[in-house]
């Protein structure tokens, strides 16, 4: 305990008052049985609230969650802005002693790994043309776990293999390493670093300020998600390089924060260099063709693609041709990124004034036909698309903006449809 307080390895400041009761949790936690801890840890009681009649009810945090999401939405969707569609992102994972902390269950390290996995999948889903690399910080040095690549599985496998923590973490070493790595990539690529930082200190061999300036110079956008407390140096780093700095309260929050980095960030004016990238659109090998693929040395029936330049065989897209190094994609991959170019406008909450007059309101959600009326035929909360004026339930709202990426209303009306096109 002593040591903790010494180097401030306390707990999140932004959880101030919980501090002591949480503490004693831990004290008694040691004496507890597994089955009891199962509850103590997932803090099941926090999801309960007492209603007027004194009965316990699960909190419906739907509205609350929806509000949060809308906040995110407003910051995220800004039409007519360039996005870094082709990203080269290094995820730097802090595996220092601090990552062994148990305040996240089972441990920070494991939780982070879990989130990173989710993130990687989401990332490639959203940015099929981008690449990710993994770097770990431990024992005061940074190690390159995997170098830039387009296949989620390989990264995840590598990470899961390397999950043990020790020593201190050095932000500087990490940045230096990443800087060197990212310097090699072409100018049109957007260079980014996402650091998942558990430690409360960085012990660096030299002056980190210089390193930060170096990164700024190299147009590397550094973002940090902290797991413990806010650190000045992190804040400074992100500010300088135009990244995001955020500190997670608990696992869900962490997930949220990490996933915020999945959609491509707006391109900084002086960083953005438009360029033409040479790409190949390989043809699907006809059924019945057998060939040995260049990725794993075995003969495959049909399927697969052949590089248009060197006729080498690759198994899946997108990838870089092993032989002639040509970037191979398919048109759907480009299409996946299109919605970043035409972001869908946020819906507005239907103001209570209108809601008071039910007859003006459609009975059910335009998207999913769910009734918009609360039990008791009172109009429930709903949103409306500014363009097509259709009403949607909150769930649809979220689905539409987070996954579907186009408004059923606008899409299903000729004239408004054409309008949207004009606007974009």
């Amino acid at each position: 305990m002593m040591n903790r307080d010494i180097n401030g390895e306390g707990r999140k400041l932004n959880r101030g008052e919980e501090e002591e009761e949480e503490d004693e949790d831990e004290e008694s936690g040691r004496g507890r049985d597994a089955w009891e801890r199962a509850y103590a840890d997932e803090r099941s009681w926090e999801s309960l609230q007492e209603d007027e009649s004194g009965l316990l009810r699960p909190i419906d945090n739907k509205a609350l969650h929806h509000a949060q999401y809308r906040r995110r939405l407003r910051t995220a969707t800004t039409a007519g802005i360039q996005k870094g569609l082709i990203r080269y992102l290094y995820i730097v994972i802090d595996l220092s002693r601090a990552a062994g902390e148990m305040d996240y269950k089972p441990s920070r390290m494991v939780v982070v790994a879990r989130q990173v996995e989710a993130f990687i999948r989401e990332f490639f889903d959203q940015n099929p043309l981008s690449q990710i690399g993994l770097v770990t910080l431990k024992d005061g040095v940074a190690q390159c776990l995997t170098d830039l690549g387009g296949s989620p599985e390989s990264h995840i496998k590598a990470l899961m293999g390397k999950l043990e923590c020790s020593g201190d973490s050095s932000l500087q070493n990490g940045l230096d390493l990443v800087h060197d790595l990212l310097n090699q990539i072409p100018s049109y690529g957007h260079r980014e670093v996402l650091i998942l930082y558990s430690a409360l200190s960085t012990c660096d061999p030299g002056d980190i300020m210089e390193t930060i300036q170096k990164c700024k110079g190299a147009k590397i956008r550094c973002s940090i998600v902290g797991l413990s407390a806010e650190l000045y140096i992190c804040k400074y780093l992100c500010q300088e390089t135009g990244g995001l700095y955020s500190v997670a309260l608990d696992e869900p929050h962490l997930k949220e924060l990490v996933l915020e980095h999945a959609p491509p960030p707006p391109a900084i004016a002086e960083f953005a260099i438009a360029n033409l990238i040479k790409m190949g659109f390989p043809q699907r090998a006809a059924e019945g063709v057998i060939s040995i693929c260049s990725c794993h040395k075995e003969a495959k029936f049909g399927g697969g693609y052949t590089c248009p330049r060197c006729k080498a065989r690759v198994c899946e897209l997108p990838t870089e041709c092993r032989i002639c190094g040509l970037t191979l994609v398919s048109s759907p991959h480009l299409a996946r990124s299109y919605h970043h170019l035409f972001p869908i406008t946020p819906f507005d909450d239907v103001s209570p004034s209108i809601t008071n007059i039910p007859q003006k309101l459609p009975k059910s959600c335009f998207g999913c036909q769910q009734s918009l009326l609360n039990p008791g035929n009172l109009p429930g909360p709903c949103v409306a698309c500014p363009k097509c004026k259709q009403h949607f339930c909150l769930d649809c709202d979220i689905y539409i903006h987070e996954s579907l990426q186009n408004c059923p209303g606008c899409e299903s009306f000729k004239q408004s449809n054409s309008v949207t096109n004009m606007e974009e």
């Binding site: 180097n7 050095s170 900084i268 002086e270 495959k300 060197c310 048109s331």
Partner: protein, 601 residues
């Protein structure tokens, strides 16, 4: 591999002055007219470059004897003994040498042609070499390739490995090149007292020593002064430990007493005055917005303890003991300061003295720097400016974003449309070809008619007549069965296994060699230098040699497998053809351009 035609033989061997001599490892390279020996360790003197003309005979040990030796005797007495890793290697060389000697014997005056491969192995470090050799030994396929191309003289060693950087790094001994900062967790002297005897032991590791030195200049100084001339290292540390022990027992009087009779010990017990004046300097750099009154110079040792509640000896001691007192917080702060400073020395931790000196040096350097530092004030000023404005009031720093203006998203669709139809056999014009003559109104009318019609009559019965249904079902069944045939029983079952082992081996070998060649071939484009040009040509020739081999395979296998094999070979041929085509095209426009620019670069 050991056929007479080939020009060069390169083997790893150790040169021995005598049979007993362990010998120096290196690379033995035999060409038609001379043999050269390059030791792995460039520094070593044993380099040889001897023409076969001077060699009059060669002896060698029998296969299976304990050493694979080859002894080349020079006409003027001298002889070169080489030990090879294995007998095959030796025999290859033996045969070669035999032929070479014979050759130089009758046609001694042949013009020596220079070896096809420019020798680039010289600049390689021994370690590098080791790694490569290791790799080759581990991976037989790699070795095959290496034999075929490097030793076959198509690729140079460097070129060959260039594409395998990653491989090299992987099993490269994991010594991070980054410098490690001082450990974050502080070393607190935990005396380990064993129960009965009242002796207390401290154990010091190099790291700890480094820390002590870094944090306690005085100790470092003392060390430099005392050891070894005044006392042995051991004595020194025991004294130090003694001192530490005294501190740990918070008995100040005792400490003072001890210090009184032993002045070396005193050094450790007293306040560290180097730090004190260091602290004075520091005070200037402290962030000006900090309220120093709050905790009078918290991290400066010149004021013993400050603010921190002291639970032990509340009794006021007369000032003479003052210097012997030390509070934990001082220790702590000092540690923090050092860690933050992030001073790193590049000295082997092992020997204490050099560590001490190194630290001392850096210290001096810094002091010097500080003394003559205008930069410091400047930095301080900007620090002030950054501090004074409260961040909430600061304007959002995020830089301007680049605007995006896309004219018409329809383009994106068209990017699909055209080819989509082409694949499906009907043309884009197909879209246009069905014009509807009727006006919107009529169209709607007929539509609604249809609906109402069925509404009143109900569904037609029977929905479809038996024949049609049967035909359709049949058609679908056939369609399915047909592409089932294509797919084979299950798509991911490997064809290779069905082939006889030899054929498979051969195929795979060729495949991998083709891959290798193609890699190099494509990587050498766009051709900018003469070197690349020659390389490309070389590669192309090599590939064109493989081409017929593939054909042979196709013929070689028995008829039942031929179909499969040819299917397998086909893609390889295509790949090669593509390469050739590219090459020719390149050559063409090189010629075209060579008009205006000489040699086409």
């Amino acid at each position: 591999m050991a056929d007479k035609q080939q020009q060069v033989v390169v083997k790893r061997a150790r040169h021995k002055s005598s049979v007993k001599d362990p010998g120096t490892p290196g690379v033995l390279k035999l060409t038609k007219d001379r043999f050269t020996f390059m030791p792995n360790d460039p520094s070593s003197p044993v380099k040889h470059n001897v023409e076969f003309r001077t060699i009059k005979g060669h002896k060698f040990t029998k296969d299976g004897t304990k050493q694979a030796l080859l002894n080349l005797t020079q006409d003027q007495g001298g002889n070169y003994i080489f030990e090879f890793e294995n007998f095959p290697d030796r025999n290859v060389c033996k045969d070669f040498v035999a032929s070479a000697i014979a050759l130089s014997g009758e046609a001694g005056r042949t013009v020596p042609e220079k070896p096809a491969v420019p020798i680039q192995d010289e600049q390689l470090s021994a370690a590098e070499m080791e790694r490569r050799i290791k790799l080759l030994q581990e991976d037989s396929d790699l070795q095959k390739l290496h034999k075929q191309f490097v030793i076959g003289g198509i690729l140079s060693e460097a070129e060959f490995w260039a594409t395998r950087k990653k491989l090299l790094e992987q099993n490269y001994s994991r010594r991070p090149k980054q410098r490690v900062a001082l450990k974050n967790d502080m070393w607190s002297t935990k005396p380990l007292a064993d129960g009965q005897s009242n002796r207390v032991t401290f154990n010091l590791t190099p790291e700890i020593i480094l820390q002590i030195f870094a944090e306690k200049p005085a100790v470092r100084q003392a060390y430099l002064n005392f050891v070894p001339n005044k006392m042995t290292e051991k004595e020194f540390w025991t004294k130090y430990s003694r001192a530490e022990y005294l501190h740990s027992t918070k008995n100040v009087i005792a400490a003072a007493a001890e210090a009184a009779e032993d002045e070396e010990l005193a050094v450790f017990l007293k306040q560290d005055d180097m730090l004190v004046n260091e602290a004075r300097k520091k005070i200037r750099q402290v962030d000006p917005t900090l309220d120093m009154e709050a905790d009078e110079g918290d991290d400066y040792m010149h004021l013993p303890d400050h603010g921190l509640p002291r639970n032990d000896n509340k009794d006021v001691l007369d000032s003479q003991y003052e210097p012997y007192r030390r509070s934990f917080s001082q220790h702590l702060n000092q540690h923090a300061a050092v860690v933050l400073q992030g001073r790193v020395i590049d000295v082997e931790l092992g020997d204490t003295r050099s560590v001490a000196e190194a630290l001392a040096r850096t210290k001096h350097a810094e002091l010097a720097k500080d003394a003559s530092d205008v930069y410091l004030d400047k930095e301080r000023l900007e620090r002030i400016s950054r501090m004074t404005e409260i961040e909430d009031l600061q304007a959002p720093r995020d830089p301007a974003v680049a605007p995006l203006s896309i004219k018409d998203p329809r383009d994106y669709f068209d990017s699909q449309q055209a080819n989509a139809f082409s694949t499906l056999g009907d043309t884009v014009s197909g879209a246009k070809q069905l014009k509807c003559s009727v006006s919107t109104r009529e169209a709607y009318c007929s539509l609604k008619e249809c609906i109402s019609e069925i509404k009143f009559q109900g569904l037609t019965e029977p929905t479809i007549n038996s024949e049609v249904a049967f035909k359709v079902l049949n058609g679908l069944a056939q369609n399915i069965s047909s592409n089932k045939y294509h797919l084979g029983r299950n798509p991911n079952e490997s064809v290779l296994d069905s082939l006889p082992k030899i054929t498979r081996e051969e195929l795979l070998l060729h495949w991998s060699s083709i891959q290798e060649l193609l890699k190099h071939f494509w990587s050498s484009y766009p051709i900018t230098t003469k070197y690349l040009l020659t390389k490309a040509t070389k590669l192309k020739d090599a590939m064109s040699q493989i081409y017929p081999k593939l054909q042979e395979i196709k013929e070689s296998v028995q008829s039942d497998l031929r179909h499969q094999v040819s299917l397998l070979v086909q893609p390889m041929l295509q790949a090669l053809d593509a390469a050739f085509a590219h090459y020719d095209a390149d050559v063409q426009n090189r010629l075209a351009r060579s008009g205006e620019r000489p040699n086409g670069f």
